[in-house]
Amino acid sequence: MLIATRDLWKTYDMGAEKIHALRGVTVSVEKGEYLAIMGPSGSGKSTLMNLIGCLDTPSQGEYVLNGTNVSSLDDDELARIRNKEIGFVFQTFNLLPRATALHNVELPLIYNGTPPSERRRLAEQALGTVGLSDRMTHKPNELSGGQRQRVAIARALVNRPSLILADEPTGNLDTATGQDIMTLFDDLHQQGNTIILVTHEADVASFANRVIHVRDGQVEREETIARETARR
């Protein structure tokens, strides 16, 4: 079991009233799974993603990631977990604008102390995996949207995390490029990576093996998609 959450609550104190963004979510994800979290905006799926991504801690409940209980870790410990266990892919790419593709991909390795030569080798390898070997010295503004997202995916992969967490990865891309990126995720899944996809688009979610529908801070329902239907 890679991820096991039990009765996760997230409550925001907005002065007079308390807002419950999550009301007792229990989810488990196996290694090698391809999971989509779906829900309309305001459903709590972003909050759930932040918790799963260790960017935030729950108000209540327990979250065990790869054998570590991360529910009550402090800022720096969470940073270490994120660096080691999670590769993020964001809707807006979130690359450092002034750094080359190669440096962007090296970034997670810088923070875990990988020596420079090893770092470079791993980053080049990751960029090769996403098909950008010829764009390594380009800066984000010299790349197309699809290429930027590929750099971001390479960055997510480079540290060999146990989980790739993608938040609306095709949200800022046109349909064709979005298709390419989803194909890339598919390939990564084939290679054994665990992927969690957060989206509000059913088309995108249909690439996953399993979909969790979130509404009003709770898991509304789960569906398992047969491999054949997932492949178009």
Binding site: D75, R98, G113
Partner: protein, 405 residues
Amino acid sequence: MQWFESVLVALGSLRANKLRSILTLVGVIIGVTTVIAVVSVISGMNRYVASTINQLGATTFFVTKWGIITSEEAWLAARDRKSFKALDMEAVREQCESCRRVGGSVETYRKVQYEDRSLADVNINGITPEVLQMVDTRLQEGRLLNESDEEHHRRVAYVGMELKKQLFPTLDPIGREIKIAGTAYTIIGLAEEKGSFLGNNMDNVVYLPMSTFERQFGRHRSVDIFVQVADVQVMSSTQDEVRAILRARRHDKFKADDSFSILTSETFMNLYRSITGTAFVAMVGIASISLLVGGIVIMNIMMVSVTERTREIGIRKAIGARRFNIMLQFLIEAVTVSVVGGIVGIVLGGSAAKILSMTTPLPASIEWWSVAAGLIVSSGVGLISGVWPAMKAARLDPIEALRYE
């Protein structure tokens, strides 16, 4: 993350934001430049004064009725003291065993003429020949005063460079006759130029044999007794010996203070320090304000930089940067800017001091400690003014920071 990486990241972002980095630099440069220039001028003055005051030498002191007068009361008290006579000097010369040389000096200010040229308010010194061995004067031409001049009351004069310049601009002064307050004297020697000290022209001076001086100007002036000892070690014991001799001659009461003062170059140095010390501290303090302003500029710009790069911080944190990593990155940026500014400031401040000393009478000397202090202080300023913005950056919540537009 290694330190080296932090430095690279910091340098990279400084390079990426050139205008901002330059503006910050200017703030630090102005501060450090001002401080270095001021400190250099001050230490130059101190050195200059010290070397001038030390012309008396570490082995020479003199006894005077007057002493250092810093108030009207002190002046009134000194005025009522008994004057020293040539006989007092003779007594010291005879009785003091550890004294190597003893001499006497009296002075007045008179007009000096040569034909139709004249020079007013010249410092006229009547001295015994030993005094020329004790004060700093170097013979340029002719000869010094000697025992025989003193003994025979010769009307001869050893003169400073100012007299040559004003009275004999084109002539050789040796052997010529000048009139001091109406009486004729033959010039036998010319001293090397000494320049001016605290606005006092030290070349506007004439030395006469003391016997001749007293014959012309009378014996009522108090004689300053100059004493030279063989070794610095016996300075204070010799002073005590001389003090005992003179107290006995002047019948000073057992518990009363001396009715005279013993002055050394150290006395003058202390006086100079007490007069100027506070002023110098104030000058450095005022100059440091510009350094403080430089620090505030850094802090201000670092704050802007943190806000502007909120998203970058969010990305770095999401990817695994800890608080320490982010803090280090911003601190190194601040310190780098301030150290570079400090180095440029030291160069500029040093040059400013040099230019100042070449174009104005102000002396300047660039001290290694002021350079070191400039570097330490400027990097300290960078560190201190970088801490708050860096902490602000380090504490950012990654979720909020990633959402920042």
